[in-house]
Symmetry: C2
Subunit: 127 residues, 2 copies
């Protein structure tokens, strides 16, 4: 059996993929993959997702330079979530210019931003 | 604004929630939350999810005893994924009796089980 068949793709042919920093252990972001994205991720060693908003494959970092070098690909018990351990090039995973997308923490009934913007998004995406 | 309104609930009123071990940093599992699950999680300090298969709130560990004590609740940039940092009671998050649900790793085009079963599921769920 093809290893891609062990993945339980949803009705849209997608599964969520979590990217975790291989060094810090921080959960960086969650994006989506279709079959081709996962196959390209495995063969190239760099994270490739499916952009739902743009409706096409998204080689993470293709615009920003913030590639993710994939050290490990994992699948959960139900086969419906992928976990990547990655080296985050540039140390910025989030399109807001922060290390990670999970930069808000719940504190006393309010979301508090805990992570600084390391690079202005207008500088990240002007290439 | 209610902090729960910052979450972008999907058409079914749900968002995925990642549970990460606060000590080891391991990503343990992904489950779903509705508004009430997240509210109960925040107020009780223990992870409460929405079981899509059973169609009801699921206080994680209610059967197995493997509760998750929540140290931190985070929200991503798009507001559509929750990240919990938890202390995993019993050291077992997965219904298969393993530490975590992500016990399969891709190696040379095959999923390889890397994590042992710590407790037989029939023993976990006989309570």
């Amino acid at each position: 059996m093809d290893w891609l068949d062990a993945v339980h793709w949803d009705d849209a042919g997608l599964v969520p993929a979590i990217a975790q920093d291989a060094v810090s252990g921080d959960v960086l972001m969650v994006a989506w993959m279709n079959r081709e994205a996962l196959q390209q991720t495995a063969s190239s060693g760099e994270a490739v997702y499916w952009s739902r908003s743009r409706g096409k494959l998204w080689h993470k970092g293709e615009e920003s330079g913030h590639l993710q070098r994939v050290r490990e690909v994992r699948l959960d018990c139900d086969g419906d979530v992928i976990l990547l351990k990655v080296e985050q090039v540039g140390g910025i995973a989030c399109h807001t210019g922060r290390v990670r997308c999970f930069f808000r923490r719940l504190e006393q009934g309010d979301w508090v931003e805990t992570d600084p913007v390391l690079k202005d998004p207008t500088d990240i995406y002007k290439r």
